[in-house]
């Protein structure tokens, strides 16, 4: 019998999980269930608003009425919604959720709120993979996925593994080494695109594909591609679930985590695999989109606190909302001209991130 067991008896009739947890909230943080409900409603509203927006305006009420079985839409409207707008809106949701979750995982893994899937190098690997796909295997595809998407995935996973092993020495990961190694590898591989362009014989068409990919444009995916991506997203999110509690433990440092009975290396590998899978899902649908993976977990952490278990669903929903809104703006702000959502994110995200940095610089003394 443990000596601690002699302490007071527990009260009969436990309070429900959320009540018990919310009582321990420090000032300035919001309740988990409230936030989840709010975000779910917001996501549905944002998706509805987004599919209603475009050159041919279809009122959100009309879409709702059609969904409920009254007043069916015209066949043109149906085509626009189902073949063009909905796939794109859903794709941006998938990309946003994937980027946000992988950002959360990498920030937790590296114990650094400034880490994101791109900062630490996976983007460079993805660029190299995508280039090989665009320039050499442009005809190849499986389930709607081009070689570009598949090789971008492989590139981001391999780069992550390289950067991670470079940053480790005698069982510890040095954060500065990690960021520098990530920066170096990412820059090196990222510039490989110029090499491919220089020796390209397609008279510029591959160059345009590559350019849009680098700027982050969410195209109009086929439904098969979308469903495979969504499956990957769900798989990675499900894989991520048991890892979230372990990320909290890892936040105390490697040695502490080991002392608490956590298998640190296996946990790390699991997080890198799931995080890379998510990055690659995002990259394969939308190319390189910066800042989403950095800002969304950051804001969620400010609202909810750093518990990764509760951050997972909140960042996923917030990421989806964030990117659906951003992509809607990207295609409608200067309509009919469309700006790449990646560029919009950089313009919106950069200043916002700097603002956050100034607000919270006291909290992040590393």
């Amino acid at each position: 019998m443990s000596p601690l067991a002699s302490a007071p008896e527990s009260p009969k009739g436990q309070a429900p999980e959320t009540r018990a947890r919310d009582e321990h909230l420090p000032k300035g943080r919001v309740g988990f269930v409230t936030l989840i409900l709010l975000l779910t409603v917001t996501l549905v509203a944002v998706v509805l608003f987004s599919v209603a927006t475009g050159a041919v305006r279809i009122a959100p009420e009309a879409i709702l009425a059609a969904l409920l079985g009254h007043h069916p839409l015209t066949s043109t409207q149906q085509t626009i919604l189902l073949q063009i707008r909905l796939p794109r809106v859903l794709a941006s949701g998938v990309v946003g959720a994937a980027l946000a979750i992988s950002g959360l995982m990498f920030q937790g893994l590296f114990r650094n709120p400034m880490a994101d899937p791109y900062v630490i190098g996976s983007s460079g690997g993805a660029v190299l993979g995508a280039c090989i796909g665009i320039f050499f295997f442009s005809q190849f595809s499986i389930y709607g996925f081009s070689a570009t998407a598949l090789l971008a995935f492989a590139g981001s996973v391999i780069t992550m593994a390289i950067v991670y092993s470079l940053a480790r020495s005698s069982g510890r990961t040095n954060i500065i080494t990690l960021l520098l190694a990530g920066f170096a590898v990412s820059t090196m591989l990222g510039y490989s695109s110029y090499f491919f362009e220089a020796f390209d014989s397609s008279s510029g068409s591959n160059h345009l594909i590559l350019l849009s990919w680098l700027h982050g444009v969410i195209g109009i995916p086929r439904w098969t591609q979308l469903s495979v991506s969504a499956t990957f997203l769900l798989t990675a999110a499900v894989l991520a679930m048991p890892l979230m509690r372990r990320l909290n433990t890892l936040a105390l440092g490697d040695e502490y985590a080991h002392q608490l009975g956590l298998r640190v290396e296996y946990t790390r590998i699991g997080i890198i695999l799931a995080g890379s899978l998510l990055t690659a899902v995002a990259v394969s649908l939308g190319g390189l989109i910066s800042f989403a993976g950095l800002i969304v977990p950051h804001v969620a952490r400010l609202l909810l606190g750093p518990d990764h278990v509760r951050l997972l669903p909140v960042t996923a929903l917030s990421g989806a909302i964030f990117l659906v809104v951003a992509d809607t703006l990207a295609r409608s702000l200067f309509a009919p001209t469309e700006i790449p959502v990646g560029i919009l994110m950089a313009f919106l995200g950069g200043p916002f991130f700097l603002y956050l940095l100034r607000q919270s610089k006291r909290s992040y003394v590393l």
């Binding site: 002699s6 321990h24 420090p26 936040a251 040695e255 002392q259 608490l260 009975g261 606190g305 750093p306």
Partner: protein, 259 residues
């Protein structure tokens, strides 16, 4: 009956540098032992070996008679808790969230905290007198409060053996006394204590036995009275006898007793 913790001919070195050379000793359940020795003698290393976060180069560390090499690390973590010198938390975790991590060795693959885990966390917070601070952000606490959070984190593991690495370091004298009182209380609750202590003045009267680790003397074990002799300390700490008030005071005490 097996000792709670046994070192059998344990040696350990970092790269070429031998830190611990064939150390053997037993800790019985209920002991309250101070680990003393000069800087760099390997006190932290010895505690890490005891907690299983370092594997010994040769020899064996036994927990209740079983080698740490063969025990699952989760099982070790339910028996031994190590309170290290330093805990850096990168995010704004609350005190409670930090202490909850102590339940890690009890959680299944998918299972989160259950009501018994929450009770253990409540007890640990209560024992370390942190119940009123549990909503505070760990990074915003003072050094003495952080020390208590680290101990509460260890207590949430419900350990039989609590290892502490210089728990009184950087504490003012009031917080040092508080911490020693807390250790006494935990010891009375039945937890075996093994703590490295830098400040020798805190050892006497507070620990039932003392283990002296020094590169210049063999590993020595005894009561505070037996180990804290000027002749031993002078050699182990390589300190000229009349240059430090602690040694001077002890020499004078021995002289008075002799005269």
């Amino acid at each position: 009956m097996n000792a709670l913790l046994s070192f059998r001919d344990v040696s350990f070195g970092y790269d070429e540098l031998d830190v611990i050379q064939s150390a053997s000793f037993d800790l019985q359940a209920g002991d309250c032992t101070a680990l003393i020795g000069p800087n760099g003698a390997g006190k932290t290393t010895m505690l890490r070996l005891a907690a299983g976060t370092l594997r010994c180069g040769s020899g064996n560390v036994l927990l209740n008679g079983e080698s740490l090499d063969t025990l699952a690390i989760r099982k070790v973590a339910r028996t031994v808790a190590l309170v290290p010198q330093q805990l850096d938390v990168p995010f704004q975790f609350t005190v409670r969230e930090v202490v909850e991590q102590g339940r890690t060795p009890y959680l299944g693959f998918l299972r989160g905290l259950m009501s018994e885990d929450r009770m253990a966390v409540d007890r640990a917070l209560d024992l370390a007198d942190l119940t009123g601070l549990q909503k505070r952000i760990f990074n915003e606490l003072s050094g003495g409060e952080r020390q208590r959070v680290k101990i509460a984190l260890g207590l949430a593991q419900e350990p039989k053996l609590l290892l502490l690495d210089e728990p009184t370091q950087n504490l003012d004298i009031g917080r040092q006394v508080e911490l020693i009182d807390l250790l006494h209380f935990l010891h009375e609750e039945g937890i075996t204590i093994f703590a490295s202590i830098h400040d020798l003045q805190l050892v006497e009267g507070n620990f039932s036995s003392v283990l002296l680790l020094s590169p210049d003397t063999p590993l020595m074990r005894g009561t505070a009275e037996e180990i804290l002799k000027p002749s031993i300390l002078e050699k182990a700490f390589n300190c000229p006898p009349r240059r430090h008030p602690l040694l001077l005071e002890r020499i004078q005490r021995y002289e008075r007793r002799a005269g």
